[in-house]
Each structure stands twice: as structure tokens, then as C-alpha cells.
């Protein structure tokens, strides 16, 4: 009986891993990383409007807070989408190497054990890599769109410039992040 129970637990783990691989679920730590990064990226342009466009941070603080919050949410949303899109592809790429490595490490274990471990490791590696790359890629795209919008809106009033540039670039980033093929 205990052996059967153990087998059931392993099966569950494998299923869970497979579900985890294809689901949009992100861990608490990854989510914090996404929101933290999105906040930094969204708050950075404030310097441009404060020091160059001369928008007083105290006077315009409500506007700044609203747009930074909206932008943070949209950028984090883009990170999540892109991470999900890339995770599967990265997992496929790393599968062979990870399986070989795990097979060498756990040569004494049975095949099922090895597969579970390999799947677990693959999921972990793909998750980490996709998270890092999605943050990097989204940041570059976000700043590019932001600077293009900033350039075209340079003759407008700084408040209009800030509102459209910040929200527009975050919205476009979120929009582009939904376009990728998962599989």
C-alpha cells in the first residue's frame, strides 16, 4: 500500500509539472519580480518630465501616480505574456541537455524518477530563462516605443506628452506581447 501511495504521489507530481509547464501561473517570487521591474521601468521616465520638461513632481503627483500604476500593470502583464510564450520554446530547447545531465546524476534511480527530476529541472530552467528574457525584451521594446512617442510629442504640452507617452507605450507593449505563438 505505501508503495502504491508513493507511486500516486509521483504521478501527481508529473501531472502537476506538465500542467505547470503549459499554464500561465507564475510563482509569487516571479510575480514580485515582474511588478518590481515594471514599476522601476514605468517610474524612470518621470525623471525626464521632472528635470527636462519641468513638471513639478508635487503639483503633478496625482497624475504621476495614476499613470505609473497603469503603466506598471500593463508592463507586468506584457512580462507575463512573453514569459509564457517563451517558456515552452526554451523548455524544448533545453530538454535534451537537462535530460542527459539528470540521467548522469541519477543513474542509480529508476526511469520514472529520472523523468520527473528532468521535467522538474527543465521547468525550473525554462521558467528562470523566460522570466529574465521577457523582462529584458519587454524593457527594450518599452523604451523604444516610449522614446519614439516622446520624440513625436515633443511639441505638445508636457502633461499631454507625459500622459500619452507613458500610457501609450505601456498599452502598445501589452498589445504586442499578446501576439506571439505559444506552440
Amino acid at each position: 500500500m505505501p508503495a502504491k501511495k508513493n507511486e500516486g504521489a509521483k504521478k501527481m507530481t508529473e501531472e502537476e509539472l506538465l500542467l505547470l509547464e503549459s499554464s500561465r501561473h507564475v510563482s509569487m517570487a516571479t510575480s514580485a519580480l515582474f511588478y518590481g521591474n515594471a514599476f522601476i521601468v514605468s517610474a524612470l521616465p518621470l525623471w525626464l518630465y521632472w528635470r527636462i520638461q519641468m513638471l513639478d513632481p508635487l503639483t503633478y503627483s496625482p497624475l504621476f501616480v495614476i499613470f505609473v500604476c497603469v503603466s506598471t500593470y500593463l508592463v507586468a502583464y506584457a512580462y507575463r505574456n512573453l514569459q509564457h510564450t517563451m517558456k515552452y520554446k526554451i523548455a524544448l530547447r533545453r530538454e535534451g541537455v537537462i535530460s542527459r545531465e539528470v540521467a548522469q546524476e541519477l543513474s542509480k534511480e529508476n526511469k520514472q524518477e529520472r523523468d520527473t527530476k528532468a521535467s522538474e529541472k527543465k521547468n525550473k530552467v525554462a521558467d528562470r530563462e523566460a522570466t529574465a528574457f521577457s523582462i529584458f525584451y519587454s524593457n527594450t521594446l518599452y523604451f523604444f516605443i516610449l522614446l519614439v512617442l516622446f520624440w513625436f510629442m515633443r511639441t505638445f504640452h508636457p502633461v499631454v506628452n507625459f500622459s500619452i507617452t507613458t500610457s501609450g507605450s505601456a498599452f502598445l507593449l501589452a498589445f504586442f506581447s499578446t501576439g506571439g505563438k505559444t506552440k
Binding site: 528574457f133 525584451y137 527594450t140 521594446l141 523604451f143 523604444f144 522614446l147 520624440w151 515633443r154
Partner: protein, 170 residues
């Protein structure tokens, strides 16, 4: 002292007086062209330059000194003609904007000026002639707007990221 020595001494005294009254360059006719640099992006200092052609009524081409920034600068003279050139530079923040009168002195005027400066005397010495230099100020902006450069750089970084992404997604 015999007559001959007396005559030579008199000649020296009179000729010195004569030169002193008329100067090295009596009735100078001056043709000048001036230049000042107006860019602050590629250069660290503002440059002023004056080119002169001085014609004296005695057909001489004396040495000239320009009084610039409270000091006397020796003006470069052409060996073949009566053309002169003087230039100086100042840090951008000290470069005076507008019309700058530059006084030119001959040897005698310059030595009087030097003496005045040395002893701190405020005796005005009239220059031989004055040339006005017109400096319109400096332009600190670059030819390409920094915003545009930032946009191009961000495009380059995004392009690199996108190339890496496409490779990963193959």
C-alpha cells in the same frame, strides 16, 4: 667734442623727436576682417581672429601690438606685405558677446602701455587705430538632437533583443 660728433648727436636727437612726433606709422589706413568661432559642441574655447592690412603714409610696416584681455599681444606680420594677423582664444564662459573694440599700438604706444600696466598707472594711451570684433555668441546645441540619438540607440538595443528572441523561438 668736435663739430662732427656734435652733428651726429643732433641728428640722433632730432630723428628721435621726429619719429616720436609722427610715430612709427603716421596716418594708418586699415582694412580688416574678423572671425569668431560660434560652436561650443566641438570646441572647448571660443576663438577670435583679426586679419589686417595696414598702409602707413611713410610706407613702413611697423610692428603692431593688440591690447586684448588686459594684455598686449604681438601681432604677426607678413614678411612680404603689410598684412597682419592676430588671434586669441577664451573659455566659452569668459568669451564676451557683442562688439569688442581691439586697440592696436606701435612699439612706442606698447612700451607706454606696458609701463602703465607695470606701475599700475591709469594713464590712457590712445591706440594707433581700433578694430571692432563682432561676436554673436556660441551655439551649444549639437547638429543631431539628443532625443533622436536616444531613439536610434533604443531601436538598436531592441533590434538586438528581437534577434535573440527570434533565434530562441525558432
Amino acid at each position: 667734442m668736435d663739430f662732427r660728433h656734435f652733428f651726429i648727436l643732433q641728428l640722433i636727437v632730432f630723428s628721435t623727436l621726429f619719429i616720436g612726433i609722427l610715430g612709427d606709422c603716421p596716418n594708418p589706413k586699415v582694412e580688416s576682417s574678423t572671425y569668431t568661432s560660434g560652436d561650443a559642441f566641438f570646441s572647448t574655447e571660443t576663438v577670435y581672429s583679426i586679419e589686417l592690412t595696414v598702409t602707413c603714409s611713410n610706407n613702413q610696416a611697423p610692428s603692431l601690438y593688440a591690447f586684448v584681455n588686459n594684455e598686449l599681444i604681438l601681432v604677426t606680420k607678413s614678411t612680404s606685405s603689410n598684412s597682419y594677423q592676430v588671434s586669441w582664444s577664451l573659455p566659452h564662459n569668459k568669451a564676451v558677446k557683442g562688439t569688442i573694440p581691439v586697440g592696436f599700438y606701435d612699439d612706442e604706444g606698447a612700451s607706454t602701455m606696458r609701463k602703465n600696466m607695470r606701475y599700475g598707472e591709469d594713464v590712457k594711451v590712445d591706440p594707433l587705430f581700433t578694430v571692432d570684433v563682432e561676436h554673436k555668441g556660441i551655439k551649444t546645441q549639437s547638429f543631431i538632437a539628443p532625443g533622436f540619438v536616444a531613439m536610434l540607440l533604443s531601436l538598436l538595443v531592441w533590434w538586438l533583443a528581437n534577434t535573440a528572441r527570434q533565434k530562441l523561438m525558432e
